[in-house]
Symmetry: C2
Subunit: 432 residues, 2 copies
Amino acid sequence: MIPSNWYNIIPDLPSPPPPPLHPATMQPIGPDDLAPLFPMELIAQEVSTERFIPIPQEVLDVYRMWRPTPLYRAHRLEKSLGTPARIYYKYEGVSPAGSHKPNTAVPQAYYNAKAGVRKLTTETGAGQWGSSLAFACAQFGLECEVWMVRASYDQKPYRRSLMRVYGATVHASPSPVTGAGTKILAEDPGSTGSLGIAISEAVEVAAAAEDTRYALGSVLNHVLMHQTVIGEEALKQLPEMPDLVIGCTGGGSNFAGLAFPFLRESSKTKLRAVEPEACPSFTRGRYAYDYGDTAGFTPLMKMHTLGHDFVPDPIHAGGLRYHGMSPLLSHMYELGMFEAVARSQRECFEAGVHFARTEGIVPAPEPTHALAETIAEALRCKETGEEKVILTALCGHAHFDLAAYDRYLSGEMQDFALPQERIDQALDGLPG
Amino acid sequence: MIPSNWYNIIPDLPSPPPPPLHPATMQPIGPDDLAPLFPMELIAQEVSTERFIPIPQEVLDVYRMWRPTPLYRAHRLEKSLGTPARIYYKYEGVSPAGSHKPNTAVPQAYYNAKAGVRKLTTETGAGQWGSSLAFACAQFGLECEVWMVRASYDQKPYRRSLMRVYGATVHASPSPVTGAGTKILAEDPGSTGSLGIAISEAVEVAAAAEDTRYALGSVLNHVLMHQTVIGEEALKQLPEMPDLVIGCTGGGSNFAGLAFPFLRESSKTKLRAVEPEACPSFTRGRYAYDYGDTAGFTPLMKMHTLGHDFVPDPIHAGGLRYHGMSPLLSHMYELGMFEAVARSQRECFEAGVHFARTEGIVPAPEPTHALAETIAEALRCKETGEEKVILTALCGHAHFDLAAYDRYLSGEMQDFALPQERIDQALDGLPG
């Protein structure tokens, strides 16, 4: 039931996405430029033109610990809404780390171990990705060093604990152990950090050591491709083709992982990405070349971005607080292959509580965005009488985010207005 | 694959367990004595002599949200130990509340709703049971009011949050809203509470209101019976009969739920209960009639007890901190139908970290007791070369217990010596 291949959508697109550029030369980067950061097999996947790439047996053996993940019909949610829509959700929270992230952490750790790498570095916001990579490294005997955004490091000690249980070393970012971190701390000793800063730190350490590489939890082509195990399973599990697939987007891997196989197999299926109003890269960002990190260590990628200096307001959906977006998804959005909407924090938590009380699972703040949109769509169907088939991505549980639900239930949660001038200001600094 | 019947082991025993007694008359209690606390269908299950009791369709519909639960072969753990033993574990952490507790919370809520009850009260220690009953009440439209032991209420805010997300009202116990709580607070305003006190509060409120009943998460016959869904599933999932079933015991429902069907089907299978050294009711308690709660509101039950005044040291396995034990299991222990051992807190957490790094799942503090014993048994097999087949109960995950792992990893966790005089003193007050 676990698929034997990942699906690479790029050869099925009318045109490939624009290449990443080297910031010094503004020329497309080659495999050698990426070699200090990634092992060759992952670089090959990043630029592959094969539609299907076999999943190695060693990776399948670990996937089997929680895959295939369940696909549920949301009977109780439907009933509570009185909708004629049929709602299905694919639940990735059954993984050891509690989200879809291990789907790519495991192959990334595997290919690095195979290439003789000793240690992986990475960044993490709320800790979903860091704990997934820590788990994967424990499976393949790799060391794991994580830079965790300071705000989350202080507010979410249990994700940090989880990484430690799996044997990882965790730094608050900005940290004094890197040049990038030291520089930022000198300017602002009280910095609460950002994903962009943490990426700079992890990349700096990986690039400097021969036996160390870097791993990214979203955005890149190979990451999105690893996540297609979600959609491939859903294709086999669903009793009917969906009219609409809804997923939340931060870097884009969860949405892409569920949606891409349906683009291949079903002409009637439409896709909708949901992002937070506080970090609206699709709906209010610019499609332009930008850095993936704050310090400008990464190649330039053409993507929907709010500017690499943009620091999103502290919404609880830490996994969606990224200034950029997957270049592949950005390209497809420009081609009109899916739509995107933004949702406010409080309407998302309202949906999360509604979902928990009907379906039992308490959704992480990130997928509450997809659920808020799913509920809104189901209520539209109630008005029109349309028996729309909706598939949504429940990419993780909220066991480490219950303080946020407490704030919502106590009426203390706020929404964040994002004035246009803040976006304009951040975009002003775009390179190129 | 979900079983269609619960298994009631009582008719298969050589003799039935001694009956509960009314403390005033010292005569066996009848159904009418229990009617203020439980609906008639649950009372009937408590005293049933039928071997199999059909699971209602409404309960199966909710079980289906997470059942059947996975049964895994612990290949990676075996390999890390170099043992010839074959280790299997049944994982109950995939339930919405994260443990085996919803297996009984759901039928209890169902039978109460069917009987026209409006509200359920209960106690909870670390919060596993309270969040399970809150989830179950949300499924059947019941109100839920929980008394949570003060120490956990303050130290584990996220379990409290989870109950609130499911719509329950949560009090710290002892609380000023009951007579029992008020009395204890008057004597000791800083009381951190105990399960025995919280039971007194929940029972008091249920007994006083016509439309309110009480629910207990372990100990009673019907609770153990509901948990046999675990063992019935495991029987069908296992490729070979186990030589040994190992489970942790607090009130006994997790151990009984996994083990009872194997007692019925396999003559070669031996059972071993594992309890904490800090709360050793089987290995150091007395088999005697005692109250289930601190205030003495419950009937007297013949069980292995440390005395209803006994307050266990604050180990992190809150679910195992109960002075008594299931009367049914106590009777079977006296009949020599299984063995029992005790494990210290630190050896349990050591096993938990070992398990997390090999099998991926971080076990709750309670099942680390079973895992510590499983690992010890597997290492014995390594010495003898015996290819023993071991089945263990992984009854929940540690997503709400990571602070405890942090303490262990930081070297700050302590073991608790339990001097014999503390046990003697508590047993001294036994009634009868």
